[in-house]
């Protein structure tokens, strides 16, 4: 490879690149959409052509990234006012904080046809700040128990609609068959505020624990937290897959789909993946139940909605609004249903979907999903009163960083690198330090 070749190649490439840029039409508006590489979003990306049929003047550029990378890029961009994106995919944790900072464009101007009153109240409430809607839900989720009916039968047990944690433990141990790579229960263990912390926090609610008391004093030194974490670690040690401490949603989904999990307590949105015969080896043997409880009046289910929002720094808010209206409006599910079947439409955002007989017929998990979503109460998530909102998160800016560190500590405890008590002491120290520094 001589220098001359290199030089020549570069020049040629530069010309090529310039030519491509010049090709872009000056009249059309381009919007850049940042989204997560989850199945429903990839499907949305695939339907761009359909959007362009009605909006030929809007060019859509997709930035599809893995969740952690996406979150890092979007958060930094919006905090710096970089204006890189016109539509961003964020969740119920970010929306209240970013909305209050005036970083998002109000969606109150969405047209009548959007039918805002159709949104499930719990989801809509989580995306509204002071009466203004700042993000439109793309899909909503709670969490529930997904289990293998065949393994449950083989264990001689029957899953109630609303199981207790004791039953889950009993069943998990009974179903485990390590010789054949079958593990009674798969749970999130991978560190991260959206991974193991989401699951453990929702679980802790059902054990009567809470992150902070009403004076914002961290509560990880409480007996309730000790019970929660010990139960979780023991359960996974007895009946979980190896390396559970590095399994997040995606890893567990893969395990469940290949038939390695007896039960899996996770996002309701997974129901359509595990029952899809193309992807799942156990599609016809999956049952659903509400997330477990301990008889304290709170179940271990969370509430989350991946939502589309427009950063205030966007230079094409009208086009962005048009896209959001299309992708999260009532008509979108019809488009998906027509092409991919009703079971694959994004769930959990609109009441009308759960009144649609075609959907109810195609999705055996629909009712359980709706019940789970309806039973989650972000404004009153715990047994004892708390000063914060959010079921599996605490809607303050410090939470993401703090929870990720605490998640790492919990993960280490699950991996056996420290005891549950040491982990809780470390979590308490981290939380006290962070909250002091943040001025609570």
């Amino acid at each position: 490879m001589s220098l001359k070749t290199v030089l020549g190649a570069t020049t040629a490439l530069a010309i090529c690149a310039a030519a491509t840029t010049a090709f872009a039409d000056g009249h059309a508006t381009t919007i850049t959409i940042a989204t997560v590489n989850n199945g429903d979003m990839i499907r949305m990306q695939g339907l761009t052509e359909v959007f362009n049929e009605t909006h030929p003047d809007i060019i859509v550029e997709w930035v599809t990234l893995e969740e952690n990378v996406l979150r890092q890029n979007v958060t930094t961009d919006i905090a710096q006012g970089g204006g890189q994106y016109d539509v961003i995919t964020i969740g119920t944790y970010e929306v209240p904080i970013w909305g209050a900072n005036n970083w998002l464009t109000s969606l109150d101007d969405l047209p009548e046809s959007y039918n805002i009153d159709d949104l499930l109240p719990a989801i809509r409430g989580g995306l509204t700040v002071d009466g203004t809607l700042y993000a439109s839900p793309f899909y909503g989720e709670s969490s529930m128990v997904m289990y293998r009916t065949d393994l449950m039968d083989a264990a001689g047990l029957e899953m109630p609609d609303a199981p207790s944690w004791d039953f889950i433990r009993e069943a998990a141990i009974a179903m485990t068959d390590r010789e054949n790579d079958i593990y009674g229960i798969c749970l999130r263990g991978k560190p991260g505020w959206g991974e193991n912390v989401a699951f453990i926090t929702a679980t802790s609610n059902s054990f009567g624990a809470r992150w902070f008391d009403e004076d914002w004093t961290p509560q990880f030194d409480s007996d309730e937290w000790s019970n929660t974490l010990n139960f979780y670690i023991d359960l996974l040690n007895e009946a979980g897959p190896p390396g559970a401490a590095n399994n997040g949603f995606n890893e567990n989904l893969a395990l469940f789909q290949q038939g390695s999990c007896g039960m899996w307590i996770d996002a309701t949105v997974a129901a359509s993946f595990v029952t899809n015969p193309n992807d799942s080896e156990v599609a016809d043997r999956v049952g659903f139940a509400l997330a477990p409880d301990n008889g304290l009046g709170r179940r271990a289910n969370w509430l989350w909605a991946w939502s589309l929002a427009i950063p205030a720094s966007s230079d094409a808010p009208e086009a962005a609004m048009a896209f959001i209206n299309w992708a999260t409006g009532p008509g979108y599910v019809e488009i998906v249903a027509e092409r991919e079947g009703w079971a694959n439409v994004p769930p959990g955002t609109r009441s009308s979907l759960y009144e649609n007989q075609a959907y109810l017929d195609a999705a055996p998990f629909a009712q359980m999903t709706l019940d789970s979503i309806l039973s989650a109460d972000p404004t009153n998530p715990t047994v004892d009163p708390v000063p914060y909102t959010g079921v599996q998160f605490v809607a303050i800016p410090e939470f993401a960083g703090l929870a990720t560190e605490i998640g790492q500590v919990f993960s280490s405890a699950l991996a056996g690198l420290m005891t549950a008590e040491e982990a809780l002491a470390a979590a308490q120290a981290l939380a006290v330090e962070e909250m002091d520094a943040a001025g609570y």
Binding site: T75, N101, P191, G192, P242, A244, N246, S411, A437
Partner: protein, 288 residues
């Protein structure tokens, strides 16, 4: 030979590089220094003067800081140990007359071309996964309990992944150095009845010292800022949080830019301490 004329010409020719690097170093550094004394938390909309040394004290007094330094040193040291030892052995082997040497060399240097993100993803999922990973299957084949690599031996796992990427680099440089070894000297030693081990320690190793120094220097520069491999595999959990990663968590995950910037300054200081050691080592060699 240097005339006045060529001296000034030399200065002119060096100027762009020096100037650009100076700007590249100083501007971000000054901004980082400035942020590090501020209470800068964009998510709260806070950008207030002045924390003074508050951020520094807070960063340094947290237990994660010491852990991070220890982790960084173990990680860099471990990778250096594996790549340098492995590199020497591999270079010695490749220096032997073997059939298909060219192809073997291609096989050995291939990992160096692999994007670190790809390497980490593939090792994590397709090799180290305790259920579906190839290593788990291998362990099972021999009747052993599969190891859950990234949770049981997380630091070691990352060291393996990074070493896999950097071993070819070390091997290449060391191989070139070995090939430049005077063969008459070796033969003379052989005649004198020196054992292969003695020959290695008294002739080969001293000859390689300069190459080893270079390998250590260049690799350390890259290894101190390892990021992708940790981000992809453990996300800094299980005691794999290096100083670089800790700074990342503060600045990006917590969006506490003031605190993170103070950490960044610590990272610069650590890097420079290491640099001074290395430079001493290399500087001596440069004069030879």
């Amino acid at each position: 030979m240097a005339t006045q004329h060529s001296r000034s010409a030399a200065r002119t020719m060096m100027a762009p590089a020096v100037f650009l690097l100076l700007v590249w170093m100083l501007v971000p550094l000054i901004l980082t220094l400035w942020f590090s004394v501020m209470d800068y938390r964009p998510l709260r909309g806070t950008f207030e003067c002045c924390e003074g040394l508050g951020n520094y004290i807070r960063f340094a007094s947290s237990s994660s800081f010491q852990d991070a330094i220890v982790t960084t040193l173990i990680m860099v040291g471990g990778i250096l140990l594996i790549t340098v030892t492995g590199g020497i052995l591999l270079a010695l082997l490749l220096d032997q007359p073997i059939w298909g040497q060219g192809i073997v060399r291609i096989l050995v240097i291939a990992p160096f071309f692999v994007m670190p993100t790809v390497a980490a993803l593939v090792w994590k999922n397709m090799f180290m996964n305790p259920v579906n990973g190839l290593l788990a299957h291998l362990w099972e084949f021999f009747g052993a309990e599969p190891i859950s690599w990234l949770t049981q031996v997380p630091l070691f796992s990352i060291i393996i992944i990074v070493s896999w990427i950097w071993l070819p680099f070390a091997t290449l440089i060391l191989l070139t150095a070995i090939q430049s070894l005077d063969s008459e000297q070796m033969e003379a030693a052989e005649m004198d009845g020196a054992s292969p081990i003695a020959r290695f320690f008294y002739i080969v190793l001293p000859h390689l010292s300069r190459a080893i120094t270079v390998v250590i220097l260049i690799q350390t520069i890259f290894l101190l800022s390892i990021f992708a491999e940790i981000f992809v595999t453990t996300g800094g959990g299980f005691g794999t949080r290096t100083l670089t990663y800790l700074v990342y968590q503060r600045v990006i995950e917590s969006q506490n830019v003031g605190l993170g910037s103070a950490g960044g300054i610590f990272a610069v200081i650590l890097a420079n301490i290491v640099a001074i050691f290395l430079m001493r080592m290399v500087g001596k060699n440069l004069d030879k």
